[in-house]
């Protein structure tokens, strides 16, 4: 499971496939104010990005993967 709620943050870790979409959607519906932590994320499926976008989610925790960083720069709120 690469989507987990920890200390009020939604952690996306490793490679996050489309199978995690429902889990992320539920996590954001239950915790609309929780920031996304992408610091340990090595890749995320476009479906997950779309969910974060519709949720107006904020990203906390700087991504370490250069591509994930480029994705984040494409337009989401950062803390």
């Amino acid at each position: 499971m690469s989507v987990q709620l920890q200390n009020g943050r939604i952690m996306l870790t490793g490679i996050c496939p489309v199978g995690d979409a429902q889990a992320l959607l539920n996590a954001l519906l239950d915790n609309p104010d929780a920031p996304l932590d992408l610091s340990g994320c090595r890749h995320l499926h476009a479906a997950l990005w779309q969910i974060a976008l519709c949720a107006g989610a904020r990203v906390g925790g700087a991504p370490t993967d250069p591509f994930v960083e480029i994705v984040c720069n494409s337009g989401i709120r950062t803390i």
Partner: protein
């Protein structure tokens, strides 16, 4: 919001409404050459305006619409049902974009619709199978983060690297097919920036289908197109590559007049080949304008170009872009040219200097006094520079110091510029432009708050007039003041009339969104209807028109969901398969009447009777006695619904009561008539203007109230009649008619008063008698709608101010009793 943008939004909505009207005619096969021309003109105007604001998708779609309509106009293309449907979709898309522009949201992508429209274009039949990549749009570049575009520009210029943009719109079902658009984009080497544009307005999280792709991606890279092409195999949907010129990456935020005025000297410095100090000069100039996104962005791009040692042509491109307020023509972009040789001679520059001076003078003359402090520093700087270059600094001796009054400074600068122009080009016509703005017949768009302010001042004027009259009376000087007071009254009335008219807006304002609503319901419910809207030119007060939107939406939803039957049911009962839905507005003197009618199933009185009994709205005896017409009005009671199933569209039993409450608050009424099997007609009637009304001032429970004179029949002599109690309710008989009697203080839960006066009140549901303590003057007052927590109270239409300055509530007789 920028007033220009607000104007664009308002005008576009009007034009989109116009498109809907013409398309509705076309669907009925009634469109003639003139209506096609009207349609064309609507597209053309929106296109022109959108270009001004750089809304490229809007420009692009309207341009293609124009192309198709030009073919219809010259007879080479038929305006058939298929084309009308696509054009309806185009109008809907434009409407959605205007909503997004108003909400400052990104514009959704329209490539699929573009393709459907393009299929109708005159040359579309030449090679129908081959999909043509849409032309590059500025919005695609703008969705890439600016910081990354700036870095990409620098690296492209310094290292002579290619710049390629990928537009990738995966199919909606791509995720299901195992496609990950981000994984595909990740395979691009030397990825510089990533951006996206939603294909539609993004839904709220709770309504999101997480497995449906909603985005179009844009990726910028230094990789050559041939290398990126390799990932195409894994990508569904649309995949288009564009080779970019580095300067195309420059995308500036919306227009900024102050910036446009201060930049010309920088261009001048470029012409003088003084690029070395360009950044310093830019910093000085940009400090002179209020900080704006465009100024900040211009400074960043300028710095990037200077640091990348770009040629002056590139710098000139940027400055012209920042000054012109329009996206420069990309077709003029050629590979960046080498720096020019020596600067042009002073003689050759003279025409440019003169043009600059004239431009500065025009700026001063056209600026409103409050804008002068913003404009003056840049004008002063330009004029000083030019005077120095022309070796005529002496003319500036008469210019006032910077701490002098702005208007004096402006006058002195205009005089200095005129003198400079005369001394340099004595033959040229140099008379200063007229200082007074030209008066024309054009319409002005005035903010509602300004009209309200005028209205507030009028209220105060009425009080002043009252005080004046009281003083005159006290001094017994009526005779001497009769004529001037009469004149004052006439003038106040005239002014009132003018302000009242300023608040009137056409119903079109609320009509223009209805066709879109009906079309979307048609699609959702699968019930085709012919929708007719007429009378949009009728006028009413802005507050009335704005409040009508919600009731209309509700009534149309009801008509389509419950009124109009499915096509099969209609056929079986001998009706045409298309339902007919009509909204008609009519001006009837001081009232506006709106009729919403359909030819659907109608409302069955038996069902209403049963439902009303079940819900306890009427007792068994009344259920027997009540006639069908009165019975049907029960659908406006709170919680009433005859619908068997609650559908997504309507039928939750809320709404019809809201329709009636809203109407009553507007001083209006709603009536329903229906014939089973033939259809339903609902008529809304409300006053054109809620502002100036004649009210009778009354006291009840120690409070002052206003009663609209229009609802008064007469004052009854209580001494000549007797109050009786019938079934627990007070009644009286007057002129052989029995009336229910209500005590105003009691209705409003105020302390009981003398209840010494009785008034016969007439309302649409029926007449009754109202008891009050005291009758005072009849006065003309301006009624202001209630705000905040009071706004939902059906008993009142608003507040007004008496001549004494006392504020009182104006009653809504129809809302007082049930």
């Amino acid at each position: 919001m920028n007033p220009l943008l607000a104007g664009f939004i308002g005008e576009s909505r009007e034009l989109i409404g116009d498109m809907g009207d013409v398309l509705a005619l076309a669907r009925r096969g009634e469109a003639d050459a003139q209506s096609v021309h009207r349609l064309f003109r609507a597209f053309h105007t929106i296109k022109g305006n959108a270009g001004l604001f750089d809304y490229e998708p809007v420009t692009h779609l309207t341009h293609n619409g124009e192309t198709v309509l030009a073919a219809v106009r010259d007879g080479s293309l038929a305006l058939d049902t298929a084309l009308v449907d696509v054009l309806f979709e185009v109008a809907d898309q434009l409407g959605e974009w205007i909503d997004q522009i108003e909400a400052d949201a990104p514009l959704s992508d329209d490539a699929a619709l573009q393709a459907r429209l393009a299929a109708h274009a005159p040359d579309a039949h030449a090679a129908p199978s081959e999909r043509v990549a849409p032309p590059l749009q500025a919005a695609w570049l703008r969705c890439l983060p600016e910081a990354e575009r700036i870095r990409a520009l620098q690296s492209a210029l310094q290292n002579q690297r290619p710049l390629v943009l990928l537009r990738y719109r995966p199919d909606e079902g791509a995720f299901f097919a195992g496609e990950d658009p981000l994984y595909n984009v990740r395979q691009i080497d030397e990825l510089l920036a990533l951006g996206f544009i939603p294909n539609q307005t993004l839904p709220a999280l709770a309504e999101l289908d997480p497995f449906r792709n909603l985005l179009t991606w844009f990726a910028l890279s230094h990789s050559p197109a041939s290398a990126i092409e390799k990932i195409k195999f894994d990508c569904s949907g649309e995949f288009d590559l564009y080779e970019l010129q580095p300067l195309q990456l420059i995308q500036l935020p919306p227009r900024d007049e102050a910036l446009a005025q201060v930049l010309p000297p920088l261009l001048q410095a470029l012409n003088d080949a003084r690029t070395g100090q360009l950044l310093d000069q830019a910093a000085t100039l940009l400090a002179a304008v209020p900080p704006s996104p465009r100024a900040r962005s211009t400074a960043l791009w300028l710095e990037a170009l200077v640091n990348a040692q770009a040629a002056p042509t590139a710098l000139r491109y940027l400055l012209n872009y920042a000054i012109q307020n329009e996206q420069p023509d990309w077709s003029a972009l050629t590979p960046v040219a080498p720096a020019p040789g020596n600067a042009a001679s002073a003689e050759a520059r003279l025409p440019l200097h003169l043009a600059l001076l004239k431009q500065q003078r025009d700026v001063l003359v056209a600026s409103a006094p409050e804008r002068l402090p913003v404009v003056l520093p840049s004008v002063r700087m330009v004029v000083t520079n030019v005077a120095r270059a022309l070796d005529r600094s002496g003319v500036l001796d008469g210019v006032r110091p910077e701490d002098d009054a702005p208007t004096l400074q402006a006058d002195a600068l205009v005089a200095a510029i005129t003198q400079l122009l005369q001394s340099c080009a004595p033959d040229a016509p140099v008379a200063a432009a007229p200082v007074t703005p030209t008066v024309s017949n054009e319409r002005l768009r005035i903010g509602a708050e300004q009209v309200d302010e005028a209205l507030g001042l009028l209220s105060e004027l009425l009080i002043t007039r009252h005080t004046l009259q009281t003083t005159i009376n006290a001094q017994q000087m009526q005779l001497a003041f009769t004529a001037p007071m009469q004149q004052l009254d006439r003038q106040i009335n005239h002014l009132l009339n003018v302000v009242q008219k300023m608040r009137l807006v056409p119903l079109e304002r609320v009509f223009e969104r209805l066709p879109r609503l009906v079309r979307s319901l048609e699609r959702k419910l699968g019930k085709p209807v012919d929708f007719e809207l007429s009378g949009g030119e009728a006028f009413a007060d802005k507050a009335v028109v704005d409040a009508l939107h919600e009731p209309l939406v509700h009534l149309l939803r009801n008509a389509l969901d419950h009124g109009i039957e499915d096509a099969e049911v209609r056929r079986a009962s001998g009706k045409p398969p298309h339902g007919r839905l009509r909204v008609q507005a009519q001006q009837q003197e001081e009232r506006v009447v709106l009729e919403i009618s359909d030819d659907g199933a109608g409302i069955d009185p038996a069902k209403v009777r049963a439902r009303a009994r079940a819900q306890g709205l009427i007792d068994a005896e009344r259920a027997e006695r009540i006639d069908d017409e009165a019975l049907l009005q029960l659908v406006f009671e709170p919680g009433f619904s005859t619908s068997a199933a609650v559908s997504e569209i309507s039928g939750r039993g809320v709404g019809m009561d809201v329709v009636r409450t809203t109407l009553r608050q507007l001083g209006g009424e709603v009536q329903l008539a229906s014939t089973p099997g033939q259809g339903t007609r609902i008529s809304l009637s409300m006053p054109v203007s809620m502002m100036l009304s004649r009210v009778l001032l009354v006291r009840a429970g120690e409070q002052l109230f206003g009663l609209p004179v229009s609802s008064l029949v007469e004052s009854l002599p209580l001494a000549r009649t007797t109050l009786q109690t019938v079934k627990g309710a007070q009644t009286l008989v007057w002129r052989e008619q029995m009336f229910a009697v209500f005590d105003l203080a009691g209705l409003l839960q105020l302390p009981a008063g003398t209840r010494g006066r009785a008034l016969q009140i007439t309302t649409a549901p029926g007449d009754f008698v109202l008891l009050v303590d005291q009758l005072l003057d009849t006065v003309d007052v301006l009624i202001r709608p209630l705000e905040g927590a009071l706004a939902g109270l059906p008993q009142y239409v608003g507040t007004a101010m008496a001549g004494t300055g006392e504020v009182f509530l104006v009653l809504n007789p129809a809302g007082l009793v049930r």
